[in-house]
């Protein structure tokens, strides 16, 4: 068996979720290759070649591969597919955008967002916002899979020494073109891989109050997240959202502040090792999943918490 993993990257750095996806590939077992698509991805290819367990890095270097344009990248993966038993990508917005397009081009039914590998044909994935876990078996000649990064411990970023090879990068389909990005920049760790996450909900009342959470985050080396309600209310940008349709996190410590605990939020954080809830409503559903619950006014409790750290 050989497995092709689509690298997630920004043409400068290899995204961490790629390492978790290689971990899933390692569990399936076989020769692991990584595809890096992008025109200035030399550094990314080098980083991918150093990842433990990777035996070959394929580089599709063309401007049409940049920004993960699905209409351009999917045919390249389609062209490579016949050499592989499995095609994997992280279930990031890039992987989720590209892989179903690849699957349809190959007439394969994809398995999305796996959380465990049972065997090379059988996988577990959450359905109904994580309220049920389905075990799914596929007999497709090529298995197409996206991987939930928090469910697989990342392989080492160093230690490998894979060969780097160029592959044909196809053409610009002319269907889609990149215009611009509005990316949040932060010195804090990335939400999906941070060891500690502190999130705010509707109870924060205003975006400016997130400064309280940021102070705590800076003391703990934590990332800052939010519930859908807080994002919908415009307190913070969309990339803060933790939940069924936002980001899925599973840190060592998750602190939910002023978050009631709607099902779709719990879907994004209930696999955290330790959950703390701070909420003034003692009947909030978040307390049902919290290891440590504090019924208190967050505007008093959070500054006190920060001082105590």
């Amino acid at each position: 068996m050989s497995i092709l993993v689509l690298a997630d990257h920004d043409n400068g750095q290899l995204a961490g979720a790629t390492l978790n996806t290689v971990a899933a590939a390692t569990q399936i077992g076989g020769d692991i290759h990584v595809l890096v698509a992008g025109d200035s991805s030399g550094n990314v290819a080098k980083a991918a070649a150093a990842v433990a367990g990777v035996s070959k890095v394929l580089v599709a270097a063309d401007a049409s591969m940049n920004h993960g344009i699905a209409e351009n990248v999917a045919p390249v993966i389609q062209g490579l597919a016949s050499g592989y038993s499995h095609l994997l990508a992280p279930a990031t917005t890039t992987g989720k955008n590209i892989m179903p397009r690849v699957a349809a081009l190959l007439d394969v039914m994809q398995i999305s967002d796996i959380i465990s590998v049972v065997d090379a044909n059988t996988f577990q994935r959450p359905i109904y916002a994580g309220n049920a876990i389905a075990t799914v078996k596929t007999d497709e000649a090529v298995k197409i899979i996206t991987v939930r990064s928090t469910a697989f411990e990342a392989v080492a970023a160093e230690g490998g020494n894979a060969a780097i090879e160029d592959v044909a990068s196809g053409n610009d389909s002319g269907l889609s073109s990149y215009v611009k990005s509005e990316l949040s920049s932060s010195e804090r760790p990335e939400l999906t891989s941070a060891p500690i996450v502190i999130s705010g909900g509707r109870g924060m009342q205003d975006g400016s109050n997130f400064a309280m959470l940021e102070k705590v985050a800076d003391k703990l080396g934590a990332a800052v997240g939010a519930s859908r309600a807080a994002v919908d209310a415009g307190f913070v940008p969309n990339d803060y959202q933790v939940g069924q349709t936002g980001k899925v996190v599973a840190p060592d410590l998750y602190v939910a502040v002023g978050i009631s605990g709607a099902i779709q939020h719990l879907a994004g954080m209930k696999d955290s090792k330790v959950i703390v809830a701070i909420n003034k409503d003692d009947e909030a559903p978040i307390f049902q999943v919290a290891d440590f619950g504090l019924v208190a006014d967050l505007f008093e409790a959070v500054p006190e918490f920060e001082k105590a750290l």
Partner: protein, 249 residues
Amino acid sequence: MKVLVPVKRVIDYNVKVRVKADNSGVELANVKMAMNPFDEIAVEQALRLKEAGGADEVVVVSIGPSQNQETIRTALAMGADRGIHVEASHDIEPLAVAKLLKGVVAREEPGIVFVGKQAIDDDCNQTGQMLAALLGWAQGTFVSGIEISGDKATVIREVDGGLEHLQISLPAVVTVDLRLNEPRYASLPNIMKAKKKPLDSISVEELGIDVTPRLTIVSVEEPAARAAGIKVADVSELVDKLKNEAKVI
């Protein structure tokens, strides 16, 4: 321009799902069903496009058993013009759904397809991208903003790092995200009017698509429950527990 909006009937998002005792799936009997919330946003966006003069007809399609006609009527009550029910007796996987929708697109020739980015039952997040691939069309996924001008659309996508703007050629498939709009409620007069709007039925066989499932559901289980936690009295007890008991800070 005609707009096609595929809508899925799913367990209402407020319902706590229960896994069947035989672990074959989740309990659907006597459970409240509703339109997939992301598809409601797609219907709303189509209606807004029509109201702004950018579209002349909004056609809604749903694939499934006869009860799916209720879901189509909901969309008609919101303001869609016409419904198509593709009759199917069992659950159809996203790949087969995309193939059926391709057949509907061939009949209807829409200029754009709006669809929810994922269904809240299987959480697959595949159908829109698959349909775009089968049609050879552009795809704009996880979209929270859209502007159409001539034969192009500029979409704002919600991506992991923030927002991304793409220009896509029409016709295209656009999968919609939560913050694109807030769907309207159907008024009583519109619910009455919707009963008279045209709703055609076609069968899977008429569309000539093999919908045999490719995947086997081995089992469906409850997730591992979290052990019950405790309430702490104050911040100092919380910090003490985190430092000395959980050892996470």
